[in-house]
Assembly symmetry: C2
Homo-oligomer: 402 residues x 2
């Protein structure tokens, strides 16, 4: 075929970009992960589940069963709502494990819960809308929502959840359209909302024109403490609940879900259809087959125990090697903990020194929407390193502390 | 867990919806497909590849190999750009089969080409932007772009491509931001752009601030005629090229791709990351394994021959049963043909009568952005019915023609 010469000129590629693309934060973490990917570096920077615990054999068996038994239907176009047996399974899971009544009709399968965040942004956010988020906040949500050009209202986290005084102030000054939070083992801080803070927040927004997006990626990965009530049962009409199989089964399938009531769900389905028609139906069926043919509760127990031991090792190492004026959270689940250096110390500078000693973490900066203000915090991931490596890594960081 | 009473009141769920959701077209086709799903109805309404030809056994073998050999990496989080060997394969395919040089760095794997359309809309379209589309136009693109609130400028199709006179008028009146077209075996019309029309269009927009989105879902499913040059080689700096494996392998994996040059690609990757982090890596690896271990050219040949026979049967049936004043296109590939009834006849009324005789198609209305204006056209799909069924279905439609 001919290759006509490219004589285009006179146009500027920048002119192709929509306004919304000018607000996109650079992916700071992507850059850090690129630096930290070398074999010899001990990395607490990632946010990956531990692949050692992936149920490889069970997934292989499920793949063979689905392709053998369900056949061509597993590979054809499918509906936007998602595979009904999988939605029924999730409904049943909520009933059995959280005492929550969620109809399969109120569940939409998404391509990872990141897509859930994007769909919510698309359906809900007008440019300029005030969106309350946690500070420090989850980067994936900040990135997804940013493209719909909201005004972020960060509310600082205490160890029991959002700072209610700041929340009150923000609720009273202007009309927030949405509020986004991760009540269990929050990313990046590792904290969980106490029952009291949950009830206080629900009380404050009940009946107001504020949508609550409750993200629960880590909720089943608990290694101590008791499950507290979720927001969805407290505020079913104004809560969108997000869940995912990325932490309890595998992330590579990109399978998550959204729970929302009918009027919201109708709009979310329209947005879903426009976004990718439907989520990969083969892996939806594969996952469903895996879930009904394996003891998933035992598997989650295994993951929770493993991460619990790794978290414990990290806390022990921090106690052993870090000076007393360094503070850190004590997670009861999830994959992360959060370190606060003494006032004035820069975690970005610490990152650079640590990298010279072949250990990496994520400096706090990207988790604040005003990235430059807070610099004495950092996120440590404990799910992907064994206990000896955790001790050695923390020792190295301690060695370069200012 | 307690179930607090839902005492929410005072808010209105409609107030949660962003402005952009008010423009969403109802999915007319979804409604029709629901009606036409019964076993006893002969349906030319769908747009599905023929599942009889899905390579079930080869896909099962690939699944087992990937889960056995590549292991945990196939199930972990992955990068937003997509699986590099798969991107290299696509690059090589373009070189071998279309004489096109496309670097793997210029290829982004998407969750079906529907996601490609959504990402393009997100990166490119500001509310109110003028977007040139074909009339009749592809519904998936209209739906995806609609959520970014453009002003659609439909340009009528002739049997050789867009009407150049109308295109000239639209190019001269105001500044279109983007132009979207399917040059080969267009959906819904089945027409292909002639070489001359392609060159004329490229000539008109070269160097202007107009981005061209060239969608090629059916391009490899050709059963007669010669491949004409694509737009991307003619205008590489201002073209975004979309491709998919949905028609050549299987749709259920939701695997497509976008080709774009660096500056555009950088923004598309940011949007991709915000949309779903990355596409299902297990099926990316599975598809790649399938592609390198099977004779994909023979498989595509098989599909093209099958659809060619089915298309031929439909044309023969139309010639046999339809009155001479009904016009229809003669596709050289793809899955659809387009029927124009004599002036004044309503295809929506015909649809209702046809359904009583247990045969379905898609009335033309949804393929026009002004749905009410054109009503004497309809789309027939031939990829999913055998030749005898096609004859019987066309006979039944002919029986209820006005």
């Amino acid at each position: 075929m001919q290759q006509p010469s490219t004589t285009e000129q006179g146009f500027q590629v920048e002119s192709f970009f929509a306004e919304r693309m000018k607000n996109t934060p650079r992916s700071f973490i992507r850059e850090i992960l690129k630096v930290a990917v070398s074999e010899e570096i001990i990395s607490f920077a990632g946010g990956l589940p531990n692949p050692e615990i992936f149920p490889m054999e069970a997934i292989r068996e499920a793949a063979v069963r689905v392709l053998g038994q369900r056949g061509r239907e597993a590979l054809q176009y499918s509906n936007s709502e998602g595979y009904l047996p999988l939605r029924r399974y999730i409904s049943h899971w909520y009933h059995e494990n959280a005492g929550m009544e969620v109809s399969p009709e109120d569940i939409l399968i998404t391509s990872g819960s990141q897509q859930g965040l994007d769909l919510i942004g698309k359906v809900v956010i007008n440019p300029g809308d005030r969106i309350i988020i946690e500070e420090p906040g989850y980067l994936g949500a900040i990135q997804a929502f940013s493209l719909y050009q909201p005004q972020f209202i960060p509310v600082p986290l205490k160890t029991t959840g959002m700072d209610l005084e700041v929340l009150d102030r923000e609720l009273n000054s202007g009309n927030p359209r949405m509020m986004y939070l991760i009540p269990d083992f929050q990313n990046p801080s590792g904290i969980s909302y106490s029952r009291e803070v949950r009830e206080q927040i629900a009380e404050r927004i009940r009946g107001k024109n504020i949508l609550l997006a409750e993200d629960t990626p880590y909720s089943d990965i608990r290694f101590s403490g008791e499950r507290a009530p979720g927001f969805y049962p407290m505020l079913p009409e104004q809560t969108i609940l997000l869940g995912t199989f990325s932490k309890t089964v595998v992330p590579g399938f990109r399978l998550g879900w959204i729970v929302a009531r009918k009027e919201l769900m109708d709009k979310l389905i329209i947005a879903k259809q426009a976004a990718d028609l439907h989520t990969n139906i083969f892996t939806q069926q594969l996952l469903y087959d895996y879930l009904i043919n394996n003891d998933i509760k035992s598997h989650i127990h295994l993951i929770s125990n493993l991460y619990g031991r790794q978290c414990h090792a990290m806390l022990e190492a921090l106690k052993t090697y870090f000076p007393k004026d360094v503070q850190y959270t004590v997670p009861k689940g999830g994959m992360f903990l959060w370190v606060t250096l003494p006032e004035g110390q820069s975690s970005l500078e610490l990152f650079n020194r640590a990298l010279e000693h072949k250990v990496a973490f994520v400096p706090g900066n990207p988790f604040y929407v005003d990235g430059s203000k807070h610099r004495s915090t950092l996120r440590l991931n404990f799910s992907c390193s064994d206990e000896a490596t955790i001790f050695e890594g923390v020792r190295r960081i301690a060695g370069v502390l200012g």
